[in-house]
């Protein structure tokens, strides 16, 4: 199904599919050129490229760009660099999560995971390298970031590092791993997701807002938006793991149940989960009320999150 939204007056006839497609092309091109400019040809490069350039939604970098557009004139060089760094960090986290010692997944983005296509040492190091390269990109004002001042760049690096680190995504992943097979309540589950997925979606949106020159008020409103859709995204992911189509999703379904993973459908049921996701999206949309029509893509993305099929 094409992610098209026509039902809301705020988004009007906004064509999200076309928006996604245009931004994806921009992001893919920039990722390719970053890898080319920052690599030596090697097995490591091929593994990084393989994992980074699979068939991807690019939700996080698109959110980063859309946030920058909402507060500013559009996607600058800075914003493109930041959005690519965020996608690199997301990709590294997938590579490491898929490792035999962690989730032991064979399929990712519709094809063999990095350690299956290459090998385990290469996958560990390709993940490390993508994480490291992200910070290199973020610190290169003389290359991609001529239009943003250094203080903003440092604020973006701090925000992303904190969200990706041991008080954000990695702590969330730890709790997720050690919650498997253990009884988990709704509060703990929300907390896991807020750390594991929410923090980086927040960082994507907020760093886009900072790079785009947003005010404090705008950045705070966008952070509320991000936290809500981040949680909605995870609830929707849990739902897809129950009733998604593995062909469309490019990965196995039913794996959460098999692993006795704590999920929203397992804890509150499928219908309540869908209702909860819809409420979160509603909160996200309310937080966009201070913006003009430049926030239309953010509107459409919030709705897409609970309508998507993969």
């Amino acid at each position: 199904m094409k992610p098209k939204t026509n039902s809301n007056h705020n988004t009007g006839s906004f064509d999200l599919a076309a928006y996604f497609s245009a931004k994806r092309r921009l992001i893919d091109n920039r990722l390719e050129s970053i890898l080319d400019d920052h690599s030596v040809p090697s097995r490591l490069y091929h593994a990084m490229h393989y994992s980074l350039m699979g068939s991807c939604k690019r939700i996080r970098p698109i959110l980063c760009i859309a946030a920058a557009e909402a507060v500013g004139k559009g996607a600058s060089e800075t914003v493109m660099g930041v959005s690519c760094a965020i996608e690199m960090i997301h990709t590294y986290s997938l590579i490491h999560d898929d490792l035999p010692a962690i989730d032991d997944d064979d399929i990712r983005r519709g094809r063999p995971t990095c350690h299956v296509r290459f090998d385990e040492p290469t996958a560990i190091l390709a993940g490390d390298a993508l994480l490291t390269l992200a910070f290199e990109i973020l610190s290169e004002p003389f290359r991609s970031f001529e239009d943003t001042d250094n203080a903003r760049l440092l604020a973006i690096i701090a925000k992303i590092a904190k969200a990706a680190g041991n008080r954000g995504m990695i702590e969330g992943q730890m709790r997720d791993i050690f919650a498997q097979g253990v009884e988990t309540d709704l509060e703990s589950l929300k907390n896991i997701h807020d750390l594991k997925t929410g923090a980086m979606i927040d960082a994507a949106v907020v760093s886009g807002a900072i790079a785009g020159g947003g005010t404090g008020e705008q950045t705070n409103a966008l952070s509320t938006y991000a936290r809500s859709i981040g949680l909605a995204f995870q609830v929707a992911d849990d739902i897809l793991n129950v009733e998604g189509d593995p062909e469309i999703m490019g990965k196995s379904i039913g794996t959460d149940k098999l692993r006795q993973k704590a999920t929203y459908p397992a804890l509150i049921g499928l219908e309540q989960s869908k209702k909860y996701a819809a409420e979160l999206v509603s909160t996200a949309l309310q937080s966009l009320s201070i913006f003009d029509k430049k926030a239309m893509p953010l509107h459409a993305i919030a709705k897409y999150i609970i309508e998507r099929k993969r």
Copy 2:
């Protein structure tokens, strides 16, 4: 043996053991406070702390501080933060290298490796978290870096990220892994070591010089120093793996030969290896000729590298 040097007029009666001990205390205290300030109490935190706070030489952060001292007035807040970030990156690389999928080492810094003490998922994620936290620390001008301008901070982040990444340490580790059991010539071996060890030692020294306010000429001279002692350090490590005392070293010896690893002793013999290390140290000492007595610690460290027993 105490690393004391009395033979060179440049270092005079400089007491390197006391210098090391004083700097180690400063670094350990700062690392503890960084972890405290940037963590939630969790299994992840304990694994990070366990690996970071073992019995360590702290050569890289000490080199960073010594370089800053050579060009400036001493170790500032900035320099301390940078030196700790470098030690975090070094520690993460050890945790990942020790993993079963890579070197499969059980002992590190005199005690069980992270994945043995905790488990494999925790070790992977603790490594990821230390790498990420390093960049958070480097980007926090409002906390530790009040005394350095933002452009210098970004230059330091770029330098460290490049050295630690896929054109530096990680590429070196890849080549090292895939060179095992394969015939390797001296040129390839030098290249591996320059990437795997040299790049980060260079980054430690150069970022110390930048943080300390060094001129271009000073920074270049210190980079030559760093590249020479970096290679000497690796040659000396290979030698210690042949004839070191496992009790003193806190890790197994003879493991390189067992793994058919390409090493200097294996390629050019033990005596030639020692001669080569001495030549490299001599080059390093020459590059310090433009500095005054504030470079005495760097002199002493260069000599220590080939005299050390662990």
